[in-house]
Symmetry: C2
Subunit: 318 residues, 2 copies
Protein backbone atom coordinates (compact mmCIF):
# COMPACT_ATOMS: atom_id res chain seq x y z
CA UNK A 1 0.00 0.00 0.00
CA UNK A 2 1.25 3.47 -0.87
CA UNK A 3 2.17 5.68 2.06
CA UNK A 4 0.68 9.16 2.04
CA UNK A 5 2.69 11.84 0.30
CA UNK A 6 4.54 14.83 1.66
CA UNK A 7 3.40 17.99 -0.10
CA UNK A 8 5.01 21.38 0.42
CA UNK A 9 3.85 24.55 -1.32
CA UNK A 10 6.06 27.64 -1.00
CA UNK A 11 7.88 26.19 2.01
CA UNK A 12 4.60 25.38 3.80
CA UNK A 13 3.12 21.96 4.51
CA UNK A 14 -0.11 22.18 2.54
CA UNK A 15 -1.72 19.94 -0.01
CA UNK A 16 -3.41 22.42 -2.30
CA UNK A 17 -2.74 25.51 -4.36
CA UNK A 18 -4.91 28.31 -5.75
CA UNK A 19 -7.07 27.30 -8.71
CA UNK A 20 -5.88 30.48 -10.42
CA UNK A 21 -2.22 29.40 -10.60
CA UNK A 22 -0.71 29.79 -14.07
CA UNK A 23 0.78 26.32 -13.76
CA UNK A 24 -2.74 24.96 -14.06
CA UNK A 25 -4.08 27.59 -16.45
CA UNK A 26 -1.39 27.23 -19.12
CA UNK A 27 1.10 24.62 -17.95
CA UNK A 28 3.22 27.70 -17.30
CA UNK A 29 6.14 26.18 -15.44
CA UNK A 30 8.71 23.41 -15.24
CA UNK A 31 9.28 20.33 -13.11
CA UNK A 32 11.86 17.77 -12.04
CA UNK A 33 11.28 14.21 -10.86
CA UNK A 34 14.13 13.20 -8.58
CA UNK A 35 14.99 9.99 -6.78
CA UNK A 36 15.57 10.35 -3.04
CA UNK A 37 17.36 7.66 -1.05
CA UNK A 38 19.03 8.05 2.33
CA UNK A 39 17.81 11.64 2.46
CA UNK A 40 19.83 12.58 -0.60
CA UNK A 41 18.71 13.49 -4.12
CA UNK A 42 20.49 11.53 -6.84
CA UNK A 43 22.07 13.68 -9.55
CA UNK A 44 20.83 16.83 -7.81
CA UNK A 45 23.12 19.21 -9.71
CA UNK A 46 21.94 17.98 -13.10
CA UNK A 47 18.29 18.30 -12.09
CA UNK A 48 18.95 21.75 -10.71
CA UNK A 49 20.73 22.94 -13.84
CA UNK A 50 17.96 21.67 -16.11
CA UNK A 51 15.39 23.37 -13.87
CA UNK A 52 17.29 26.66 -14.10
CA UNK A 53 17.64 26.25 -17.85
CA UNK A 54 13.87 25.71 -18.16
CA UNK A 55 13.06 28.71 -15.96
CA UNK A 56 15.41 30.89 -17.95
CA UNK A 57 13.98 29.83 -21.29
CA UNK A 58 10.43 30.47 -20.05
CA UNK A 59 11.54 33.80 -18.49
CA UNK A 60 10.31 32.73 -15.06
CA UNK A 61 12.18 34.43 -12.24
CA UNK A 62 12.47 32.91 -8.81
CA UNK A 63 13.73 34.41 -5.61
CA UNK A 64 16.94 32.53 -4.73
CA UNK A 65 16.34 32.68 -0.99
CA UNK A 66 12.71 31.55 -1.29
CA UNK A 67 13.83 28.66 -3.47
CA UNK A 68 16.58 27.69 -1.07
CA UNK A 69 14.18 27.80 1.86
CA UNK A 70 11.64 25.73 -0.04
CA UNK A 71 14.22 23.10 -0.90
CA UNK A 72 15.42 23.06 2.70
CA UNK A 73 11.92 22.55 4.05
CA UNK A 74 11.16 19.91 1.44
CA UNK A 75 14.27 17.82 1.92
CA UNK A 76 14.10 18.17 5.70
CA UNK A 77 10.59 16.69 5.71
CA UNK A 78 11.69 13.87 3.44
CA UNK A 79 14.79 13.19 5.56
CA UNK A 80 12.77 13.00 8.77
CA UNK A 81 10.52 10.50 7.11
CA UNK A 82 13.30 8.44 5.59
CA UNK A 83 15.08 8.33 8.96
CA UNK A 84 11.99 6.66 10.35
CA UNK A 85 11.84 4.30 7.35
CA UNK A 86 15.53 3.74 6.54
CA UNK A 87 14.86 1.37 3.63
CA UNK A 88 12.47 3.77 1.97
CA UNK A 89 13.28 5.31 -1.37
CA UNK A 90 11.02 7.80 -3.01
CA UNK A 91 10.53 10.35 -5.72
CA UNK A 92 10.51 14.07 -5.07
CA UNK A 93 8.67 15.97 -7.75
CA UNK A 94 9.56 19.63 -7.78
CA UNK A 95 7.26 21.97 -9.72
CA UNK A 96 7.95 25.65 -10.29
CA UNK A 97 5.19 27.74 -11.89
CA UNK A 98 5.06 31.38 -12.90
CA UNK A 99 2.69 31.95 -9.96
CA UNK A 100 -0.84 33.12 -9.49
CA UNK A 101 -2.49 34.44 -12.62
CA UNK A 102 -4.46 37.38 -13.83
CA UNK A 103 -6.60 37.16 -16.94
CA UNK A 104 -4.72 36.38 -20.16
CA UNK A 105 -1.56 34.76 -21.43
CA UNK A 106 0.78 37.67 -20.90
CA UNK A 107 2.85 37.32 -17.72
CA UNK A 108 2.40 40.23 -15.33
CA UNK A 109 5.68 39.78 -13.44
CA UNK A 110 3.97 40.90 -10.25
CA UNK A 111 3.38 37.48 -8.77
CA UNK A 112 6.12 35.39 -7.19
CA UNK A 113 6.71 31.93 -8.65
CA UNK A 114 4.94 29.02 -6.98
CA UNK A 115 7.22 26.28 -5.61
CA UNK A 116 5.69 22.85 -5.08
CA UNK A 117 7.31 19.67 -3.76
CA UNK A 118 5.49 16.34 -3.84
CA UNK A 119 7.26 13.38 -2.30
CA UNK A 120 5.98 9.84 -2.70
CA UNK A 121 7.70 6.67 -1.53
CA UNK A 122 8.35 4.14 -4.26
CA UNK A 123 6.15 1.11 -3.59
CA UNK A 124 7.64 -2.38 -3.17
CA UNK A 125 6.09 -3.39 -6.48
CA UNK A 126 8.25 -0.78 -8.20
CA UNK A 127 11.50 -2.41 -7.09
CA UNK A 128 10.49 -5.93 -8.10
CA UNK A 129 9.26 -4.79 -11.46
CA UNK A 130 12.19 -2.48 -12.08
CA UNK A 131 14.74 -5.14 -11.13
CA UNK A 132 13.12 -7.45 -13.62
CA UNK A 133 13.22 -4.83 -16.35
CA UNK A 134 16.84 -3.98 -15.70
CA UNK A 135 17.79 -7.66 -15.77
CA UNK A 136 15.64 -9.03 -18.57
CA UNK A 137 14.97 -5.93 -20.62
CA UNK A 138 11.71 -4.52 -21.92
CA UNK A 139 9.54 -4.70 -24.99
CA UNK A 140 8.67 -1.38 -26.57
CA UNK A 141 6.42 -0.11 -29.34
CA UNK A 142 6.37 2.85 -31.72
CA UNK A 143 3.83 5.45 -30.57
CA UNK A 144 1.27 6.88 -32.98
CA UNK A 145 1.58 10.20 -31.16
CA UNK A 146 4.32 12.39 -32.67
CA UNK A 147 6.51 15.00 -31.03
CA UNK A 148 6.12 18.50 -32.43
CA UNK A 149 9.09 20.70 -33.25
CA UNK A 150 9.30 23.50 -30.68
CA UNK A 151 12.68 25.06 -30.24
CA UNK A 152 11.37 27.10 -27.28
CA UNK A 153 10.58 23.99 -25.27
CA UNK A 154 13.03 21.38 -26.64
CA UNK A 155 15.09 19.75 -23.93
CA UNK A 156 13.38 21.23 -20.88
CA UNK A 157 10.72 19.62 -18.70
CA UNK A 158 7.87 22.09 -18.98
CA UNK A 159 4.38 21.49 -17.59
CA UNK A 160 3.12 21.13 -21.19
CA UNK A 161 3.25 17.35 -21.25
CA UNK A 162 0.11 16.27 -23.11
CA UNK A 163 2.03 14.53 -25.92
CA UNK A 164 3.59 12.22 -23.32
CA UNK A 165 0.25 11.58 -21.66
CA UNK A 166 -1.33 10.65 -24.99
CA UNK A 167 1.66 8.57 -26.04
CA UNK A 168 1.70 6.69 -22.70
CA UNK A 169 -2.00 6.03 -22.98
CA UNK A 170 -1.41 4.02 -26.16
CA UNK A 171 0.35 1.40 -24.01
CA UNK A 172 -2.78 0.65 -21.98
CA UNK A 173 -3.85 -1.94 -24.52
CA UNK A 174 -0.37 -3.27 -25.37
CA UNK A 175 2.09 -5.62 -23.73
CA UNK A 176 4.92 -3.13 -24.27
CA UNK A 177 6.62 -1.51 -21.26
CA UNK A 178 7.62 1.69 -23.06
CA UNK A 179 6.84 3.56 -26.27
CA UNK A 180 9.15 5.33 -28.69
CA UNK A 181 8.22 8.79 -29.88
CA UNK A 182 9.13 9.96 -33.37
CA UNK A 183 9.00 13.48 -34.74
CA UNK A 184 7.18 14.39 -37.94
CA UNK A 185 10.32 13.58 -39.97
CA UNK A 186 10.22 9.98 -38.68
CA UNK A 187 13.30 10.48 -36.53
CA UNK A 188 13.29 8.63 -33.24
CA UNK A 189 13.55 11.14 -30.39
CA UNK A 190 13.01 9.35 -27.08
CA UNK A 191 10.70 7.08 -25.12
CA UNK A 192 7.69 8.51 -23.24
CA UNK A 193 9.65 8.86 -19.99
CA UNK A 194 13.15 7.80 -20.99
CA UNK A 195 15.94 8.67 -23.37
CA UNK A 196 17.10 6.23 -26.02
CA UNK A 197 20.60 4.95 -26.72
CA UNK A 198 21.77 2.62 -29.49
CA UNK A 199 25.05 0.74 -29.52
CA UNK A 200 26.57 0.12 -32.94
CA UNK A 201 30.14 -1.13 -33.35
CA UNK A 202 30.92 -0.06 -29.77
CA UNK A 203 29.85 3.54 -30.42
CA UNK A 204 26.91 5.02 -28.49
CA UNK A 205 24.27 6.90 -30.47
CA UNK A 206 21.50 8.95 -28.95
CA UNK A 207 18.96 11.28 -30.60
CA UNK A 208 19.60 15.00 -30.74
CA UNK A 209 17.26 16.85 -28.38
CA UNK A 210 17.44 20.22 -30.12
CA UNK A 211 13.98 20.37 -31.73
CA UNK A 212 11.82 18.41 -29.31
CA UNK A 213 12.10 15.88 -26.49
CA UNK A 214 13.39 16.01 -22.93
CA UNK A 215 17.12 15.93 -22.22
CA UNK A 216 17.18 13.52 -19.29
CA UNK A 217 19.69 13.84 -16.48
CA UNK A 218 20.71 10.19 -16.81
CA UNK A 219 21.31 10.88 -20.51
CA UNK A 220 23.53 13.77 -19.52
CA UNK A 221 25.42 11.62 -17.04
CA UNK A 222 26.13 9.06 -19.76
CA UNK A 223 27.21 11.70 -22.28
CA UNK A 224 29.24 13.85 -19.90
CA UNK A 225 30.87 11.27 -17.68
CA UNK A 226 30.06 7.59 -18.09
CA UNK A 227 30.98 7.28 -21.76
CA UNK A 228 34.42 8.72 -21.03
CA UNK A 229 34.82 6.40 -18.05
CA UNK A 230 34.02 3.49 -20.37
CA UNK A 231 36.26 4.83 -23.10
CA UNK A 232 33.50 4.96 -25.72
CA UNK A 233 32.41 7.64 -28.13
CA UNK A 234 28.88 9.13 -27.96
CA UNK A 235 27.25 10.61 -31.03
CA UNK A 236 24.21 12.86 -30.65
CA UNK A 237 22.56 12.60 -34.05
CA UNK A 238 19.38 12.06 -36.01
CA UNK A 239 18.31 8.47 -35.40
CA UNK A 240 16.18 6.67 -37.97
CA UNK A 241 14.14 3.51 -37.54
CA UNK A 242 16.63 1.80 -39.82
CA UNK A 243 19.47 2.68 -37.41
CA UNK A 244 17.35 1.32 -34.58
CA UNK A 245 16.76 -1.94 -36.42
CA UNK A 246 20.44 -2.43 -37.13
CA UNK A 247 21.70 -1.55 -33.66
CA UNK A 248 23.76 -4.12 -31.74
CA UNK A 249 22.15 -3.16 -28.44
CA UNK A 250 19.41 -0.75 -27.44
CA UNK A 251 18.68 0.69 -24.01
CA UNK A 252 16.62 3.37 -22.28
CA UNK A 253 17.79 5.71 -19.51
CA UNK A 254 15.88 7.35 -16.67
CA UNK A 255 17.18 8.80 -13.41
CA UNK A 256 14.63 6.98 -11.25
CA UNK A 257 14.44 3.57 -12.93
CA UNK A 258 17.99 3.45 -14.31
CA UNK A 259 18.95 1.59 -17.49
CA UNK A 260 16.46 -0.71 -19.17
CA UNK A 261 17.83 -2.82 -22.01
CA UNK A 262 15.37 -3.10 -24.91
CA UNK A 263 14.79 -6.65 -26.16
CA UNK A 264 12.10 -6.19 -28.75
CA UNK A 265 10.10 -3.68 -30.76
CA UNK A 266 7.71 -3.99 -33.68
CA UNK A 267 9.35 -1.88 -36.42
CA UNK A 268 7.67 -1.72 -39.83
CA UNK A 269 5.67 -4.87 -38.97
CA UNK A 270 8.82 -6.84 -38.15
CA UNK A 271 9.32 -7.96 -34.55
CA UNK A 272 12.83 -6.67 -34.10
CA UNK A 273 14.79 -8.34 -31.30
CA UNK A 274 17.99 -7.48 -29.45
CA UNK A 275 19.96 -9.32 -26.80
CA UNK A 276 20.89 -7.74 -23.48
CA UNK A 277 24.55 -7.35 -24.31
CA UNK A 278 27.77 -6.67 -22.48
CA UNK A 279 27.60 -3.00 -23.29
CA UNK A 280 24.25 -2.58 -21.53
CA UNK A 281 25.55 -4.43 -18.49
CA UNK A 282 28.58 -2.17 -18.31
CA UNK A 283 26.47 0.96 -18.63
CA UNK A 284 24.22 -0.33 -15.84
CA UNK A 285 27.12 -0.93 -13.49
CA UNK A 286 28.46 2.56 -14.16
CA UNK A 287 25.13 4.38 -13.89
CA UNK A 288 23.17 2.68 -11.14
CA UNK A 289 25.25 3.80 -8.22
CA UNK A 290 26.91 6.87 -9.64
CA UNK A 291 27.22 9.93 -7.43
CA UNK A 292 28.22 13.38 -8.58
CA UNK A 293 31.07 15.17 -6.85
CA UNK A 294 30.47 16.41 -3.34
CA UNK A 295 30.42 20.03 -4.55
CA UNK A 296 27.50 19.14 -6.85
CA UNK A 297 25.50 17.45 -4.09
CA UNK A 298 22.27 18.65 -2.56
CA UNK A 299 24.03 19.24 0.76
CA UNK A 300 26.54 21.48 -0.93
CA UNK A 301 23.76 23.41 -2.65
CA UNK A 302 21.77 23.83 0.57
CA UNK A 303 24.76 25.37 2.30
CA UNK A 304 25.56 27.61 -0.65
CA UNK A 305 25.49 31.36 -0.17
CA UNK A 306 24.77 32.11 -3.83
CA UNK A 307 22.29 29.38 -4.58
CA UNK A 308 21.03 30.57 -7.94
CA UNK A 309 24.06 32.01 -9.66
CA UNK A 310 23.71 30.39 -13.04
CA UNK A 311 26.60 28.02 -13.56
CA UNK A 312 27.75 28.10 -17.16
CA UNK A 313 27.39 24.55 -18.47
CA UNK A 314 29.29 23.59 -21.54
CA UNK A 315 26.82 20.88 -22.30
CA UNK A 316 23.86 23.24 -22.59
CA UNK A 317 20.56 21.35 -22.60
CA UNK A 318 22.05 17.98 -21.75
CA UNK B 1 -10.59 48.00 -8.87
CA UNK B 2 -11.14 44.34 -9.66
CA UNK B 3 -13.84 42.63 -7.64
CA UNK B 4 -12.91 39.29 -6.09
CA UNK B 5 -13.52 36.21 -8.20
CA UNK B 6 -16.00 33.40 -7.82
CA UNK B 7 -14.21 30.06 -7.82
CA UNK B 8 -16.01 26.72 -7.84
CA UNK B 9 -14.23 23.37 -7.82
CA UNK B 10 -16.33 20.24 -8.42
CA UNK B 11 -19.55 22.11 -7.61
CA UNK B 12 -18.14 23.44 -4.32
CA UNK B 13 -17.22 27.02 -3.47
CA UNK B 14 -13.50 26.66 -2.83
CA UNK B 15 -10.48 28.50 -4.13
CA UNK B 16 -7.89 25.76 -4.31
CA UNK B 17 -7.29 22.31 -5.70
CA UNK B 18 -4.92 19.44 -4.83
CA UNK B 19 -1.30 20.06 -5.83
CA UNK B 20 -1.35 16.54 -7.29
CA UNK B 21 -3.96 17.32 -9.97
CA UNK B 22 -2.93 16.20 -13.45
CA UNK B 23 -4.04 19.55 -14.81
CA UNK B 24 -1.05 21.07 -13.03
CA UNK B 25 1.33 18.15 -13.47
CA UNK B 26 0.99 17.83 -17.25
CA UNK B 27 -1.49 20.43 -18.46
CA UNK B 28 -3.74 17.38 -18.76
CA UNK B 29 -7.06 19.01 -19.52
CA UNK B 30 -8.97 21.60 -21.52
CA UNK B 31 -10.57 24.97 -20.87
CA UNK B 32 -13.03 27.52 -22.19
CA UNK B 33 -13.11 31.26 -21.59
CA UNK B 34 -16.69 32.48 -21.90
CA UNK B 35 -18.28 35.90 -21.70
CA UNK B 36 -21.14 36.20 -19.21
CA UNK B 37 -23.61 39.09 -19.37
CA UNK B 38 -27.08 39.20 -17.85
CA UNK B 39 -26.45 35.79 -16.30
CA UNK B 40 -26.12 34.17 -19.71
CA UNK B 41 -23.07 32.71 -21.46
CA UNK B 42 -22.56 34.02 -24.98
CA UNK B 43 -22.19 31.30 -27.62
CA UNK B 44 -22.56 28.61 -24.95
CA UNK B 45 -23.27 25.78 -27.40
CA UNK B 46 -20.10 26.42 -29.39
CA UNK B 47 -17.98 26.56 -26.24
CA UNK B 48 -19.62 23.38 -25.00
CA UNK B 49 -19.04 21.52 -28.25
CA UNK B 50 -15.39 22.52 -28.40
CA UNK B 51 -14.95 21.45 -24.78
CA UNK B 52 -16.49 18.04 -25.56
CA UNK B 53 -14.32 17.74 -28.66
CA UNK B 54 -11.21 18.46 -26.59
CA UNK B 55 -12.19 15.98 -23.87
CA UNK B 56 -12.87 13.31 -26.46
CA UNK B 57 -9.55 13.85 -28.21
CA UNK B 58 -7.68 13.69 -24.90
CA UNK B 59 -9.74 10.64 -23.84
CA UNK B 60 -10.92 12.40 -20.69
CA UNK B 61 -14.27 11.13 -19.48
CA UNK B 62 -16.58 13.22 -17.38
CA UNK B 63 -19.70 12.25 -15.52
CA UNK B 64 -22.60 14.03 -17.27
CA UNK B 65 -24.54 14.61 -14.07
CA UNK B 66 -21.50 15.90 -12.18
CA UNK B 67 -20.77 18.27 -15.04
CA UNK B 68 -24.36 19.48 -15.20
CA UNK B 69 -24.39 20.07 -11.46
CA UNK B 70 -21.09 21.92 -11.63
CA UNK B 71 -22.35 24.18 -14.42
CA UNK B 72 -25.57 24.79 -12.51
CA UNK B 73 -23.70 25.76 -9.35
CA UNK B 74 -21.28 27.94 -11.29
CA UNK B 75 -23.82 29.88 -13.30
CA UNK B 76 -26.13 30.23 -10.31
CA UNK B 77 -23.35 31.92 -8.33
CA UNK B 78 -22.56 34.20 -11.23
CA UNK B 79 -26.24 35.05 -11.76
CA UNK B 80 -26.74 35.97 -8.12
CA UNK B 81 -23.76 38.24 -8.39
CA UNK B 82 -24.80 39.82 -11.68
CA UNK B 83 -28.33 40.43 -10.32
CA UNK B 84 -26.72 42.52 -7.59
CA UNK B 85 -24.53 44.29 -10.18
CA UNK B 86 -26.82 44.48 -13.23
CA UNK B 87 -24.27 46.29 -15.41
CA UNK B 88 -21.52 43.78 -14.70
CA UNK B 89 -20.12 41.61 -17.43
CA UNK B 90 -17.50 39.00 -16.75
CA UNK B 91 -15.57 36.03 -18.00
CA UNK B 92 -16.22 32.50 -16.80
CA UNK B 93 -13.22 30.28 -17.29
CA UNK B 94 -14.15 26.62 -17.20
CA UNK B 95 -11.29 24.13 -16.73
CA UNK B 96 -11.70 20.37 -16.93
CA UNK B 97 -8.71 18.21 -15.98
CA UNK B 98 -8.21 14.45 -15.96
CA UNK B 99 -8.32 14.60 -12.16
CA UNK B 100 -5.99 13.77 -9.33
CA UNK B 101 -2.82 12.02 -10.38
CA UNK B 102 -0.71 9.05 -9.47
CA UNK B 103 2.94 8.84 -10.47
CA UNK B 104 3.57 8.87 -14.21
CA UNK B 105 2.09 10.04 -17.47
CA UNK B 106 -0.24 7.11 -18.05
CA UNK B 107 -3.81 7.92 -17.06
CA UNK B 108 -5.22 5.52 -14.48
CA UNK B 109 -8.90 6.11 -15.25
CA UNK B 110 -9.72 5.69 -11.56
CA UNK B 111 -9.98 9.35 -10.68
CA UNK B 112 -12.93 11.51 -11.65
CA UNK B 113 -12.22 14.58 -13.76
CA UNK B 114 -11.74 17.87 -11.90
CA UNK B 115 -14.17 20.66 -12.85
CA UNK B 116 -13.11 24.22 -12.11
CA UNK B 117 -14.97 27.48 -12.75
CA UNK B 118 -13.32 30.84 -12.25
CA UNK B 119 -15.46 33.91 -12.78
CA UNK B 120 -13.97 37.39 -12.91
CA UNK B 121 -15.84 40.60 -13.72
CA UNK B 122 -14.42 42.54 -16.64
CA UNK B 123 -12.94 45.79 -15.29
CA UNK B 124 -14.13 49.18 -16.59
CA UNK B 125 -10.77 49.67 -18.25
CA UNK B 126 -11.48 46.64 -20.43
CA UNK B 127 -14.58 48.24 -21.97
CA UNK B 128 -12.92 51.55 -22.73
CA UNK B 129 -9.90 49.92 -24.25
CA UNK B 130 -11.90 47.33 -26.17
CA UNK B 131 -14.28 49.94 -27.57
CA UNK B 132 -11.29 51.87 -28.82
CA UNK B 133 -9.79 48.78 -30.44
CA UNK B 134 -13.04 47.83 -32.12
CA UNK B 135 -13.48 51.36 -33.45
CA UNK B 136 -9.97 52.34 -34.41
CA UNK B 137 -8.34 48.98 -34.95
CA UNK B 138 -5.11 47.57 -33.57
CA UNK B 139 -1.47 47.32 -34.52
CA UNK B 140 -0.02 43.83 -34.52
CA UNK B 141 3.39 42.22 -34.92
CA UNK B 142 4.76 38.89 -36.12
CA UNK B 143 5.79 36.72 -33.16
CA UNK B 144 9.19 35.06 -33.05
CA UNK B 145 7.58 32.11 -31.27
CA UNK B 146 6.29 29.51 -33.75
CA UNK B 147 3.37 27.10 -33.46
CA UNK B 148 4.33 23.44 -33.61
CA UNK B 149 2.43 20.92 -35.70
CA UNK B 150 0.44 18.64 -33.41
CA UNK B 151 -2.53 16.95 -34.96
CA UNK B 152 -3.56 15.60 -31.53
CA UNK B 153 -4.02 19.07 -30.11
CA UNK B 154 -4.85 21.21 -33.16
CA UNK B 155 -8.06 23.18 -32.77
CA UNK B 156 -8.78 22.40 -29.12
CA UNK B 157 -8.04 24.56 -26.08
CA UNK B 158 -5.84 22.28 -24.01
CA UNK B 159 -4.01 23.35 -20.86
CA UNK B 160 -0.71 23.13 -22.80
CA UNK B 161 -0.53 26.82 -23.63
CA UNK B 162 3.13 27.74 -23.22
CA UNK B 163 3.59 28.79 -26.86
CA UNK B 164 0.88 31.43 -26.33
CA UNK B 165 2.44 32.59 -23.07
CA UNK B 166 5.83 33.00 -24.72
CA UNK B 167 4.34 34.65 -27.81
CA UNK B 168 2.31 37.10 -25.69
CA UNK B 169 5.37 37.95 -23.65
CA UNK B 170 7.08 39.30 -26.78
CA UNK B 171 4.53 42.12 -26.78
CA UNK B 172 5.66 43.44 -23.40
CA UNK B 173 8.28 45.59 -25.09
CA UNK B 174 6.27 46.51 -28.19
CA UNK B 175 3.50 48.95 -28.97
CA UNK B 176 1.50 46.22 -30.73
CA UNK B 177 -1.84 45.07 -29.28
CA UNK B 178 -1.67 41.54 -30.66
CA UNK B 179 0.85 39.17 -32.22
CA UNK B 180 0.51 36.84 -35.19
CA UNK B 181 1.76 33.28 -34.84
CA UNK B 182 3.20 31.43 -37.81
CA UNK B 183 3.94 27.73 -38.10
CA UNK B 184 7.31 26.39 -39.16
CA UNK B 185 6.26 26.60 -42.82
CA UNK B 186 5.75 30.37 -42.48
CA UNK B 187 2.00 30.07 -42.74
CA UNK B 188 0.03 32.50 -40.62
CA UNK B 189 -2.16 30.54 -38.19
CA UNK B 190 -3.74 32.94 -35.70
CA UNK B 191 -3.07 35.68 -33.18
CA UNK B 192 -2.07 34.81 -29.60
CA UNK B 193 -5.67 34.92 -28.34
CA UNK B 194 -7.63 35.56 -31.52
CA UNK B 195 -8.32 34.09 -34.94
CA UNK B 196 -7.35 35.91 -38.10
CA UNK B 197 -9.49 36.82 -41.10
CA UNK B 198 -8.46 38.51 -44.35
CA UNK B 199 -10.83 40.13 -46.80
CA UNK B 200 -9.77 40.02 -50.46
CA UNK B 201 -12.16 40.93 -53.27
CA UNK B 202 -15.10 40.49 -50.90
CA UNK B 203 -14.11 36.91 -50.05
CA UNK B 204 -13.21 35.99 -46.45
CA UNK B 205 -10.03 33.98 -45.89
CA UNK B 206 -9.02 32.42 -42.60
CA UNK B 207 -6.17 30.00 -41.78
CA UNK B 208 -6.83 26.27 -41.61
CA UNK B 209 -6.66 25.05 -38.02
CA UNK B 210 -5.93 21.42 -38.81
CA UNK B 211 -2.26 21.21 -37.75
CA UNK B 212 -2.04 23.71 -34.93
CA UNK B 213 -3.87 26.68 -33.49
CA UNK B 214 -7.13 27.12 -31.62
CA UNK B 215 -10.44 27.08 -33.49
CA UNK B 216 -12.19 29.98 -31.80
CA UNK B 217 -15.93 30.02 -31.23
CA UNK B 218 -16.25 33.48 -32.82
CA UNK B 219 -14.40 32.09 -35.84
CA UNK B 220 -16.93 29.28 -35.99
CA UNK B 221 -19.82 31.73 -35.73
CA UNK B 222 -18.47 33.69 -38.69
CA UNK B 223 -17.86 30.56 -40.79
CA UNK B 224 -21.08 28.75 -39.91
CA UNK B 225 -23.59 31.60 -39.76
CA UNK B 226 -22.44 35.18 -40.22
CA UNK B 227 -20.79 34.74 -43.63
CA UNK B 228 -23.98 33.24 -45.01
CA UNK B 229 -26.05 36.04 -43.47
CA UNK B 230 -23.74 38.52 -45.21
CA UNK B 231 -23.79 36.56 -48.45
CA UNK B 232 -20.02 36.15 -48.63
CA UNK B 233 -17.81 33.14 -49.23
CA UNK B 234 -15.32 31.93 -46.57
CA UNK B 235 -12.20 30.02 -47.54
CA UNK B 236 -10.26 28.08 -44.90
CA UNK B 237 -6.82 27.83 -46.43
CA UNK B 238 -3.09 28.22 -45.95
CA UNK B 239 -2.43 31.92 -45.45
CA UNK B 240 0.96 33.34 -46.35
CA UNK B 241 2.47 36.66 -45.31
CA UNK B 242 2.13 37.75 -48.92
CA UNK B 243 -1.63 37.15 -48.78
CA UNK B 244 -1.73 39.14 -45.56
CA UNK B 245 0.13 42.03 -47.16
CA UNK B 246 -2.22 42.14 -50.12
CA UNK B 247 -5.45 41.83 -48.17
CA UNK B 248 -8.08 44.58 -48.54
CA UNK B 249 -9.03 44.34 -44.86
CA UNK B 250 -7.73 42.34 -41.93
CA UNK B 251 -9.47 41.62 -38.63
CA UNK B 252 -9.18 39.44 -35.54
CA UNK B 253 -12.00 37.57 -33.79
CA UNK B 254 -12.46 36.60 -30.15
CA UNK B 255 -15.64 35.69 -28.27
CA UNK B 256 -14.94 38.04 -25.36
CA UNK B 257 -13.50 41.09 -27.13
CA UNK B 258 -15.32 40.73 -30.46
CA UNK B 259 -13.92 41.91 -33.77
CA UNK B 260 -10.76 44.02 -33.86
CA UNK B 261 -9.85 45.49 -37.24
CA UNK B 262 -6.10 45.39 -37.89
CA UNK B 263 -4.62 48.67 -39.09
CA UNK B 264 -0.92 47.92 -39.23
CA UNK B 265 1.73 45.23 -38.99
CA UNK B 266 5.45 45.15 -39.70
CA UNK B 267 5.79 42.47 -42.40
CA UNK B 268 9.25 41.80 -43.83
CA UNK B 269 10.44 45.17 -42.50
CA UNK B 270 7.63 47.05 -44.26
CA UNK B 271 5.04 48.78 -42.09
CA UNK B 272 1.95 47.35 -43.77
CA UNK B 273 -1.21 49.38 -43.24
CA UNK B 274 -4.89 48.68 -43.76
CA UNK B 275 -7.98 50.84 -43.37
CA UNK B 276 -10.89 49.83 -41.19
CA UNK B 277 -13.23 49.05 -44.09
CA UNK B 278 -16.91 48.50 -44.66
CA UNK B 279 -16.50 44.77 -44.47
CA UNK B 280 -15.09 44.90 -40.94
CA UNK B 281 -17.92 47.18 -39.85
CA UNK B 282 -20.51 44.81 -41.25
CA UNK B 283 -18.89 41.82 -39.55
CA UNK B 284 -18.87 43.73 -36.27
CA UNK B 285 -22.54 44.58 -36.47
CA UNK B 286 -23.38 40.93 -37.19
CA UNK B 287 -21.12 39.41 -34.53
CA UNK B 288 -21.26 41.70 -31.54
CA UNK B 289 -24.81 41.01 -30.49
CA UNK B 290 -25.37 37.63 -32.04
CA UNK B 291 -27.21 35.02 -30.03
CA UNK B 292 -27.49 31.35 -30.90
CA UNK B 293 -30.92 29.72 -31.10
CA UNK B 294 -32.80 29.20 -27.87
CA UNK B 295 -32.21 25.43 -28.06
CA UNK B 296 -28.44 26.08 -28.07
CA UNK B 297 -28.58 28.38 -25.03
CA UNK B 298 -27.15 27.68 -21.62
CA UNK B 299 -30.68 27.60 -20.15
CA UNK B 300 -31.68 24.91 -22.63
CA UNK B 301 -28.56 22.91 -21.77
CA UNK B 302 -29.11 23.20 -18.03
CA UNK B 303 -32.63 21.81 -18.36
CA UNK B 304 -31.51 19.02 -20.66
CA UNK B 305 -31.98 15.43 -19.55
CA UNK B 306 -29.13 14.08 -21.68
CA UNK B 307 -26.58 16.81 -21.17
CA UNK B 308 -23.55 15.11 -22.66
CA UNK B 309 -24.88 13.23 -25.66
CA UNK B 310 -22.33 14.20 -28.25
CA UNK B 311 -24.07 16.20 -30.92
CA UNK B 312 -22.67 15.39 -34.34
CA UNK B 313 -21.33 18.65 -35.72
CA UNK B 314 -20.74 18.94 -39.42
CA UNK B 315 -18.22 21.65 -38.87
CA UNK B 316 -15.87 19.53 -36.74
CA UNK B 317 -13.21 21.62 -35.06
CA UNK B 318 -14.62 24.98 -36.09
Amino acid sequence: MTEPSIIIVNSQQQTSLPATDRGLAYGDGVFETMKVAGGDISLWHYHYERLLDGLQRLFIEIDPQAFLQHMNTSIESVRQRQQMHPQEQGVLKLIVTRGDGQRGYMPTQFEPATLISIYKPLPDTFFNENEDRQQNGVGIHICKERLAVSSSLAGIKSLNQLPYVLASRERQTLAAQEGLLLNNDNHVIEATARNLFLVKNNVLHTPLIDQCGVAGVMRRLIIDIVAAQMGVMVKEAHITLSMLKHADEVFLSNSVSGIWPVVNCLVDDVDQQWLVGKFSRRIQSHCHHFRLDENQSLTSYLSSSTPLSPSPTSSGKN
